[in-house]
Symmetry: C2
Subunit: 217 residues, 2 copies
Amino acid sequence: MAPAGGVSPLTVNRLSIYLRVLRQLAEQGEERISSQQLASRYDLSAAQIRKDLAQFGEFGIRGVGYDVRQLAARLEELLGLDRRYPLVIVGMGNLGRALAHYLEFNSGSFEVVAGVDNDPRGVGRAVGRVTVRPSAELAELVRSTGAVVGVLTVPPEAAQENLDALAAAGVRAVLNFAPGRLRAPRGVRLKNVDLRIHLEELAFYLGAGEAEKPQRR
Amino acid sequence: MAPAGGVSPLTVNRLSIYLRVLRQLAEQGEERISSQQLASRYDLSAAQIRKDLAQFGEFGIRGVGYDVRQLAARLEELLGLDRRYPLVIVGMGNLGRALAHYLEFNSGSFEVVAGVDNDPRGVGRAVGRVTVRPSAELAELVRSTGAVVGVLTVPPEAAQENLDALAAAGVRAVLNFAPGRLRAPRGVRLKNVDLRIHLEELAFYLGAGEAEKPQRR
Protein backbone atom coordinates (compact mmCIF):
# COMPACT_ATOMS: atom_id res chain seq x y z
CA MET A 1 0.00 0.00 0.00
CA ALA A 2 3.05 2.33 -0.09
CA PRO A 3 2.27 5.29 -2.33
CA ALA A 4 4.31 5.35 -5.52
CA GLY A 5 6.07 8.64 -6.06
CA GLY A 6 4.68 9.90 -2.73
CA VAL A 7 1.17 10.15 -4.15
CA SER A 8 -1.49 8.06 -2.45
CA PRO A 9 -4.23 6.09 -4.22
CA LEU A 10 -6.85 8.40 -2.70
CA THR A 11 -5.16 11.48 -4.14
CA VAL A 12 -5.04 9.83 -7.55
CA ASN A 13 -8.71 8.99 -7.11
CA ARG A 14 -9.50 12.65 -6.39
CA LEU A 15 -7.43 13.85 -9.36
CA SER A 16 -9.51 11.48 -11.45
CA ILE A 17 -12.72 13.03 -10.03
CA TYR A 18 -11.45 16.56 -10.76
CA LEU A 19 -10.69 15.49 -14.31
CA ARG A 20 -14.20 14.13 -14.82
CA VAL A 21 -15.74 17.32 -13.43
CA LEU A 22 -13.52 19.47 -15.66
CA ARG A 23 -14.45 17.43 -18.74
CA GLN A 24 -18.13 18.00 -17.91
CA LEU A 25 -17.55 21.74 -17.48
CA ALA A 26 -15.65 21.92 -20.77
CA GLU A 27 -18.56 20.15 -22.50
CA GLN A 28 -20.93 22.72 -21.03
CA GLY A 29 -18.76 25.48 -22.51
CA GLU A 30 -17.28 26.76 -19.22
CA GLU A 31 -13.83 28.31 -19.61
CA ARG A 32 -12.72 29.23 -16.09
CA ILE A 33 -13.47 27.98 -12.63
CA SER A 34 -12.06 28.77 -9.18
CA SER A 35 -11.26 26.13 -6.58
CA GLN A 36 -14.09 27.65 -4.48
CA GLN A 37 -16.61 27.22 -7.30
CA LEU A 38 -15.36 23.72 -8.07
CA ALA A 39 -15.62 22.86 -4.38
CA SER A 40 -19.10 24.24 -3.77
CA ARG A 41 -20.63 22.89 -6.98
CA TYR A 42 -19.37 19.40 -6.52
CA ASP A 43 -19.24 19.17 -2.75
CA LEU A 44 -15.48 19.00 -2.63
CA SER A 45 -13.18 20.93 -0.30
CA ALA A 46 -11.47 24.00 -1.86
CA ALA A 47 -8.47 23.56 0.44
CA GLN A 48 -8.21 19.89 -0.55
CA ILE A 49 -8.36 20.75 -4.25
CA ARG A 50 -5.61 23.36 -3.92
CA LYS A 51 -3.49 21.00 -1.81
CA ASP A 52 -3.91 18.12 -4.27
CA LEU A 53 -3.00 20.22 -7.27
CA ALA A 54 -0.14 22.02 -5.53
CA GLN A 55 1.75 18.70 -5.31
CA PHE A 56 2.22 18.87 -9.05
CA GLY A 57 3.13 22.51 -9.58
CA GLU A 58 1.34 25.80 -9.99
CA PHE A 59 -2.08 25.75 -11.57
CA GLY A 60 -4.54 28.59 -11.80
CA ILE A 61 -4.11 32.27 -10.98
CA ARG A 62 -5.20 33.73 -7.67
CA GLY A 63 -8.48 35.60 -8.16
CA VAL A 64 -8.88 34.30 -11.73
CA GLY A 65 -9.16 30.56 -11.19
CA TYR A 66 -8.29 27.67 -13.42
CA ASP A 67 -8.50 27.45 -17.19
CA VAL A 68 -10.87 24.49 -17.53
CA ARG A 69 -9.41 22.90 -20.67
CA GLN A 70 -5.82 23.57 -19.72
CA LEU A 71 -6.23 22.03 -16.28
CA ALA A 72 -8.05 19.02 -17.76
CA ALA A 73 -5.23 18.47 -20.26
CA ARG A 74 -2.64 18.82 -17.50
CA LEU A 75 -4.48 16.32 -15.30
CA GLU A 76 -4.68 13.84 -18.17
CA GLU A 77 -0.94 14.16 -18.53
CA LEU A 78 -0.39 13.86 -14.76
CA LEU A 79 -2.58 10.77 -14.63
CA GLY A 80 -0.67 9.31 -17.57
CA LEU A 81 -3.77 9.23 -19.78
CA ASP A 82 -2.02 10.82 -22.74
CA ARG A 83 -0.38 7.47 -23.49
CA ARG A 84 -1.53 4.01 -24.63
CA TYR A 85 -1.40 0.96 -22.43
CA PRO A 86 -1.60 -2.51 -23.99
CA LEU A 87 -3.75 -4.72 -21.78
CA VAL A 88 -4.21 -8.47 -21.35
CA ILE A 89 -7.38 -10.01 -19.90
CA VAL A 90 -6.94 -13.18 -17.85
CA GLY A 91 -10.24 -15.06 -17.66
CA MET A 92 -12.41 -14.75 -20.76
CA GLY A 93 -15.69 -15.75 -19.12
CA ASN A 94 -18.69 -13.44 -19.08
CA LEU A 95 -16.92 -10.56 -17.36
CA GLY A 96 -13.71 -10.89 -19.37
CA ARG A 97 -15.65 -10.93 -22.63
CA ALA A 98 -17.81 -8.02 -21.50
CA LEU A 99 -14.71 -5.95 -20.71
CA ALA A 100 -13.06 -6.88 -24.01
CA HIS A 101 -16.10 -5.58 -25.91
CA TYR A 102 -16.49 -2.56 -23.65
CA LEU A 103 -12.88 -1.47 -24.04
CA GLU A 104 -12.97 -2.07 -27.77
CA PHE A 105 -15.51 0.73 -28.11
CA ASN A 106 -14.46 2.94 -25.18
CA SER A 107 -10.81 2.28 -24.94
CA GLY A 108 -9.53 5.67 -23.86
CA SER A 109 -5.90 4.96 -23.07
CA PHE A 110 -6.27 1.19 -22.87
CA GLU A 111 -6.05 -1.29 -25.69
CA VAL A 112 -6.99 -4.94 -25.25
CA VAL A 113 -4.20 -6.83 -27.04
CA ALA A 114 -4.71 -10.33 -25.65
CA GLY A 115 -7.11 -12.53 -23.69
CA VAL A 116 -6.40 -15.92 -22.13
CA ASP A 117 -8.51 -18.62 -20.52
CA ASN A 118 -7.77 -22.05 -19.09
CA ASP A 119 -10.99 -23.57 -20.42
CA PRO A 120 -10.11 -25.24 -23.76
CA ARG A 121 -13.70 -24.72 -24.97
CA GLY A 122 -13.24 -20.94 -25.07
CA VAL A 123 -9.82 -20.99 -26.72
CA GLY A 124 -9.81 -19.86 -30.36
CA ARG A 125 -12.95 -17.82 -29.95
CA ALA A 126 -12.85 -14.24 -31.28
CA VAL A 127 -13.90 -11.60 -28.75
CA GLY A 128 -13.74 -8.02 -29.96
CA ARG A 129 -10.33 -7.62 -31.56
CA VAL A 130 -8.64 -10.55 -29.84
CA THR A 131 -8.72 -14.32 -30.10
CA VAL A 132 -8.80 -16.20 -26.80
CA ARG A 133 -5.54 -18.06 -26.17
CA PRO A 134 -4.69 -20.77 -23.59
CA SER A 135 -3.50 -19.52 -20.19
CA ALA A 136 -0.26 -21.43 -20.69
CA GLU A 137 0.71 -18.90 -23.38
CA LEU A 138 0.37 -15.90 -21.05
CA ALA A 139 4.09 -15.10 -20.67
CA GLU A 140 4.67 -15.42 -24.40
CA LEU A 141 1.67 -13.18 -25.17
CA VAL A 142 2.77 -10.51 -22.72
CA ARG A 143 6.19 -10.48 -24.34
CA SER A 144 4.94 -10.37 -27.92
CA THR A 145 2.21 -7.75 -27.31
CA GLY A 146 4.08 -5.59 -24.79
CA ALA A 147 1.11 -5.73 -22.40
CA VAL A 148 1.79 -3.68 -19.26
CA VAL A 149 -1.66 -3.94 -17.64
CA GLY A 150 -3.50 -7.11 -16.68
CA VAL A 151 -7.19 -7.48 -15.93
CA LEU A 152 -8.04 -10.42 -13.69
CA THR A 153 -11.52 -11.85 -14.28
CA VAL A 154 -11.09 -15.40 -13.00
CA PRO A 155 -12.89 -17.25 -10.19
CA PRO A 156 -11.67 -16.25 -6.68
CA GLU A 157 -9.82 -19.54 -6.11
CA ALA A 158 -7.71 -19.01 -9.27
CA ALA A 159 -6.97 -15.32 -8.66
CA GLN A 160 -3.68 -15.48 -6.73
CA GLU A 161 -1.94 -17.91 -9.08
CA ASN A 162 -2.99 -15.91 -12.13
CA LEU A 163 -1.87 -12.67 -10.47
CA ASP A 164 1.51 -14.26 -9.78
CA ALA A 165 1.69 -15.46 -13.39
CA LEU A 166 0.96 -11.92 -14.64
CA ALA A 167 3.72 -10.55 -12.40
CA ALA A 168 6.18 -13.21 -13.56
CA ALA A 169 5.33 -12.34 -17.15
CA GLY A 170 6.31 -8.72 -16.51
CA VAL A 171 2.94 -6.97 -16.24
CA ARG A 172 3.23 -3.96 -13.92
CA ALA A 173 -0.35 -3.14 -12.97
CA VAL A 174 -3.34 -5.41 -12.39
CA LEU A 175 -7.01 -4.63 -12.06
CA ASN A 176 -8.62 -7.46 -10.11
CA PHE A 177 -12.36 -8.19 -10.22
CA ALA A 178 -12.18 -11.42 -8.21
CA PRO A 179 -13.48 -11.11 -4.64
CA GLY A 180 -11.13 -11.81 -1.72
CA ARG A 181 -7.74 -10.59 -0.62
CA LEU A 182 -4.72 -11.07 -2.86
CA ARG A 183 -1.03 -10.54 -2.11
CA ALA A 184 0.40 -8.05 -4.58
CA PRO A 185 3.66 -9.41 -6.00
CA ARG A 186 6.66 -7.08 -5.73
CA GLY A 187 6.74 -4.44 -8.44
CA VAL A 188 3.07 -4.83 -9.33
CA ARG A 189 0.43 -2.22 -8.56
CA LEU A 190 -2.78 -4.08 -7.69
CA LYS A 191 -6.22 -2.50 -7.69
CA ASN A 192 -9.21 -4.49 -6.49
CA VAL A 193 -12.59 -3.58 -7.90
CA ASP A 194 -15.72 -4.39 -5.95
CA LEU A 195 -18.65 -3.88 -8.30
CA ARG A 196 -21.00 -3.64 -5.31
CA ILE A 197 -19.60 -0.19 -4.43
CA HIS A 198 -21.66 1.38 -7.17
CA LEU A 199 -24.82 -0.30 -5.93
CA GLU A 200 -24.09 0.69 -2.36
CA GLU A 201 -24.13 4.33 -3.35
CA LEU A 202 -27.65 3.89 -4.66
CA ALA A 203 -28.83 2.16 -1.47
CA PHE A 204 -28.44 5.40 0.45
CA TYR A 205 -30.96 7.17 -1.76
CA LEU A 206 -33.38 4.27 -1.66
CA GLY A 207 -33.30 4.49 2.12
CA ALA A 208 -33.73 8.27 2.04
CA GLY A 209 -36.71 8.00 -0.32
CA GLU A 210 -38.30 5.43 1.93
CA ALA A 211 -37.90 7.67 4.99
CA GLU A 212 -39.73 10.51 3.25
CA LYS A 213 -42.84 8.41 2.83
CA PRO A 214 -45.33 8.54 5.71
CA GLN A 215 -45.69 4.77 5.70
CA ARG A 216 -44.83 1.68 3.72
CA ARG A 217 -47.28 0.59 1.08
CA MET B 1 -28.31 15.97 -9.83
CA ALA B 2 -30.22 17.49 -6.87
CA PRO B 3 -29.03 15.82 -3.67
CA ALA B 4 -31.72 13.70 -2.01
CA GLY B 5 -32.21 14.50 1.64
CA GLY B 6 -29.62 17.31 1.35
CA VAL B 7 -26.77 14.82 1.04
CA SER B 8 -24.71 14.96 -2.13
CA PRO B 9 -23.49 11.95 -4.12
CA LEU B 10 -19.89 12.85 -3.26
CA THR B 11 -20.63 12.81 0.47
CA VAL B 12 -22.27 9.40 0.08
CA ASN B 13 -19.22 8.29 -1.85
CA ARG B 14 -16.95 9.41 1.01
CA LEU B 15 -19.15 7.71 3.62
CA SER B 16 -18.75 4.56 1.57
CA ILE B 17 -14.94 5.01 1.60
CA TYR B 18 -14.95 5.53 5.38
CA LEU B 19 -16.99 2.35 5.76
CA ARG B 20 -14.50 0.34 3.69
CA VAL B 21 -11.59 1.73 5.71
CA LEU B 22 -13.37 0.95 9.00
CA ARG B 23 -14.10 -2.61 7.87
CA GLN B 24 -10.40 -3.07 7.09
CA LEU B 25 -9.44 -1.67 10.50
CA ALA B 26 -11.93 -3.96 12.24
CA GLU B 27 -10.47 -6.95 10.39
CA GLN B 28 -7.01 -5.93 11.58
CA GLY B 29 -8.33 -5.91 15.14
CA GLU B 30 -8.29 -2.13 15.68
CA GLU B 31 -10.88 -0.92 18.17
CA ARG B 32 -10.58 2.87 18.20
CA ILE B 33 -9.44 5.51 15.75
CA SER B 34 -9.46 9.30 15.77
CA SER B 35 -10.44 11.41 12.78
CA GLN B 36 -6.81 12.60 12.68
CA GLN B 37 -5.48 9.04 12.48
CA LEU B 38 -8.09 8.08 9.94
CA ALA B 39 -7.18 11.14 7.89
CA SER B 40 -3.41 10.73 7.98
CA ARG B 41 -3.42 6.97 7.34
CA TYR B 42 -5.70 7.13 4.37
CA ASP B 43 -4.87 10.56 3.03
CA LEU B 44 -8.26 12.02 3.87
CA SER B 45 -8.96 15.36 5.53
CA ALA B 46 -9.77 15.17 9.28
CA ALA B 47 -12.00 18.25 9.01
CA GLN B 48 -13.84 16.70 6.07
CA ILE B 49 -14.38 13.44 7.98
CA ARG B 50 -15.77 15.27 11.03
CA LYS B 51 -17.96 17.48 8.82
CA ASP B 52 -19.32 14.50 6.87
CA LEU B 53 -20.15 12.51 9.99
CA ALA B 54 -21.56 15.51 11.88
CA GLN B 55 -24.39 15.72 9.32
CA PHE B 56 -25.76 12.51 10.79
CA GLY B 57 -25.38 13.11 14.50
CA GLU B 58 -22.67 12.78 17.12
CA PHE B 59 -20.08 10.10 16.64
CA GLY B 60 -16.90 9.59 18.60
CA ILE B 61 -15.69 11.21 21.76
CA ARG B 62 -13.27 14.15 21.78
CA GLY B 63 -9.83 12.87 22.70
CA VAL B 64 -10.91 9.22 22.50
CA GLY B 65 -11.91 8.86 18.89
CA TYR B 66 -14.37 6.57 17.17
CA ASP B 67 -15.28 3.04 18.13
CA VAL B 68 -14.37 1.25 14.89
CA ARG B 69 -17.09 -1.42 14.86
CA GLN B 70 -19.79 0.90 16.17
CA LEU B 71 -19.06 3.55 13.55
CA ALA B 72 -18.96 0.91 10.79
CA ALA B 73 -22.35 -0.44 11.88
CA ARG B 74 -23.78 3.08 12.04
CA LEU B 75 -22.46 3.90 8.55
CA GLU B 76 -23.99 0.70 7.17
CA GLU B 77 -27.29 1.78 8.62
CA LEU B 78 -26.87 5.35 7.30
CA LEU B 79 -26.02 4.05 3.85
CA GLY B 80 -29.07 1.77 3.99
CA LEU B 81 -26.94 -1.37 3.75
CA ASP B 82 -28.73 -3.11 6.61
CA ARG B 83 -31.63 -3.89 4.27
CA ARG B 84 -32.21 -6.04 1.15
CA TYR B 85 -32.85 -4.59 -2.28
CA PRO B 86 -34.39 -6.77 -4.99
CA LEU B 87 -32.70 -5.97 -8.29
CA VAL B 88 -33.56 -6.48 -11.96
CA ILE B 89 -30.92 -6.66 -14.71
CA VAL B 90 -31.92 -5.23 -18.09
CA GLY B 91 -29.67 -6.66 -20.79
CA MET B 92 -28.50 -10.21 -20.17
CA GLY B 93 -25.51 -10.12 -22.52
CA ASN B 94 -21.96 -10.76 -21.28
CA LEU B 95 -21.98 -7.96 -18.71
CA GLY B 96 -25.52 -8.66 -17.46
CA ARG B 97 -24.72 -12.35 -17.03
CA ALA B 98 -21.41 -11.54 -15.36
CA LEU B 99 -23.18 -9.27 -12.86
CA ALA B 100 -25.89 -11.84 -12.20
CA HIS B 101 -23.25 -14.45 -11.29
CA TYR B 102 -21.15 -11.94 -9.35
CA LEU B 103 -24.07 -10.74 -7.23
CA GLU B 104 -25.25 -14.29 -6.64
CA PHE B 105 -22.06 -15.00 -4.70
CA ASN B 106 -21.34 -11.53 -3.34
CA SER B 107 -24.74 -10.06 -2.97
CA GLY B 108 -24.31 -7.96 0.15
CA SER B 109 -27.57 -6.01 0.28
CA PHE B 110 -28.58 -6.73 -3.30
CA GLU B 111 -30.46 -9.71 -4.62
CA VAL B 112 -30.88 -10.35 -8.33
CA VAL B 113 -34.54 -11.33 -8.71
CA ALA B 114 -35.02 -10.95 -12.47
CA GLY B 115 -33.17 -10.50 -15.74
CA VAL B 116 -34.62 -9.47 -19.10
CA ASP B 117 -33.31 -9.33 -22.65
CA ASN B 118 -34.82 -8.40 -25.98
CA ASP B 119 -32.93 -11.10 -27.84
CA PRO B 120 -35.25 -14.14 -28.07
CA ARG B 121 -32.22 -16.48 -28.24
CA GLY B 122 -31.26 -15.65 -24.65
CA VAL B 123 -34.78 -15.92 -23.23
CA GLY B 124 -35.38 -18.98 -21.06
CA ARG B 125 -31.70 -19.38 -20.23
CA ALA B 126 -30.84 -19.85 -16.54
CA VAL B 127 -28.22 -17.41 -15.23
CA GLY B 128 -27.36 -17.73 -11.57
CA ARG B 129 -30.66 -17.86 -9.75
CA VAL B 130 -32.79 -16.26 -12.45
CA THR B 131 -34.18 -17.26 -15.81
CA VAL B 132 -33.90 -14.66 -18.56
CA ARG B 133 -37.32 -13.23 -19.53
CA PRO B 134 -38.33 -11.11 -22.55
CA SER B 135 -37.97 -7.32 -22.14
CA ALA B 136 -41.70 -6.98 -22.80
CA GLU B 137 -42.36 -8.57 -19.41
CA LEU B 138 -40.29 -5.99 -17.49
CA ALA B 139 -43.21 -4.13 -15.84
CA GLU B 140 -44.86 -7.37 -14.79
CA LEU B 141 -41.59 -8.74 -13.38
CA VAL B 142 -40.88 -5.56 -11.42
CA ARG B 143 -44.34 -5.76 -9.90
CA SER B 144 -44.19 -9.47 -9.06
CA THR B 145 -40.64 -9.40 -7.66
CA GLY B 146 -40.80 -6.00 -5.94
CA ALA B 147 -37.55 -4.95 -7.64
CA VAL B 148 -36.51 -1.43 -6.58
CA VAL B 149 -33.12 -1.29 -8.29
CA GLY B 150 -32.39 -1.71 -11.99
CA VAL B 151 -29.05 -2.46 -13.61
CA LEU B 152 -28.75 -1.33 -17.21
CA THR B 153 -26.37 -3.43 -19.30
CA VAL B 154 -27.73 -2.80 -22.79
CA PRO B 155 -26.01 -1.28 -25.86
CA PRO B 156 -25.77 2.54 -25.71
CA GLU B 157 -28.47 3.10 -28.34
CA ALA B 158 -31.01 1.14 -26.28
CA ALA B 159 -30.12 2.67 -22.92
CA GLN B 160 -32.56 5.61 -22.73
CA GLU B 161 -35.66 3.63 -23.71
CA ASN B 162 -34.82 0.87 -21.23
CA LEU B 163 -34.15 3.43 -18.52
CA ASP B 164 -37.56 4.99 -19.21
CA ALA B 165 -39.16 1.54 -19.10
CA LEU B 166 -37.56 0.83 -15.72
CA ALA B 167 -38.86 4.16 -14.40
CA ALA B 168 -42.36 3.49 -15.75
CA ALA B 169 -42.28 0.07 -14.09
CA GLY B 170 -41.63 1.74 -10.73
CA VAL B 171 -37.93 1.10 -10.19
CA ARG B 172 -36.40 3.88 -8.09
CA ALA B 173 -32.67 3.59 -8.65
CA VAL B 174 -30.71 2.58 -11.74
CA LEU B 175 -27.07 1.68 -12.18
CA ASN B 176 -26.15 2.29 -15.80
CA PHE B 177 -23.14 0.69 -17.49
CA ALA B 178 -23.94 1.93 -21.01
CA PRO B 179 -21.67 4.75 -22.20
CA GLY B 180 -23.20 8.13 -23.08
CA ARG B 181 -25.45 10.62 -21.36
CA LEU B 182 -28.94 9.60 -20.24
CA ARG B 183 -31.79 11.76 -18.94
CA ALA B 184 -32.83 10.52 -15.51
CA PRO B 185 -36.62 10.16 -15.37
CA ARG B 186 -38.32 11.98 -12.51
CA GLY B 187 -38.17 10.07 -9.24
CA VAL B 188 -35.32 7.83 -10.37
CA ARG B 189 -31.80 8.06 -8.98
CA LEU B 190 -29.40 7.32 -11.83
CA LYS B 191 -25.77 6.35 -11.39
CA ASN B 192 -23.51 5.95 -14.39
CA VAL B 193 -20.56 3.60 -14.09
CA ASP B 194 -17.55 4.03 -16.32
CA LEU B 195 -15.43 0.91 -15.95
CA ARG B 196 -12.43 2.79 -17.32
CA ILE B 197 -12.13 4.80 -14.07
CA HIS B 198 -10.51 1.85 -12.36
CA LEU B 199 -7.98 1.46 -15.15
CA GLU B 200 -7.27 5.18 -15.18
CA GLU B 201 -6.16 5.01 -11.58
CA LEU B 202 -3.57 2.41 -12.53
CA ALA B 203 -2.26 4.51 -15.43
CA PHE B 204 -0.87 7.06 -12.98
CA TYR B 205 1.38 4.48 -11.36
CA LEU B 206 2.51 3.06 -14.68
CA GLY B 207 3.63 6.56 -15.62
CA ALA B 208 5.34 7.06 -12.26
CA GLY B 209 7.15 3.73 -12.54
CA GLU B 210 8.35 4.62 -16.00
CA ALA B 211 9.76 7.95 -14.77
CA GLU B 212 11.83 6.17 -12.10
CA LYS B 213 13.72 4.18 -14.71
CA PRO B 214 16.83 5.83 -16.08
CA GLN B 215 15.90 4.80 -19.62
CA ARG B 216 13.46 2.71 -21.55
CA ARG B 217 14.39 -0.85 -22.29
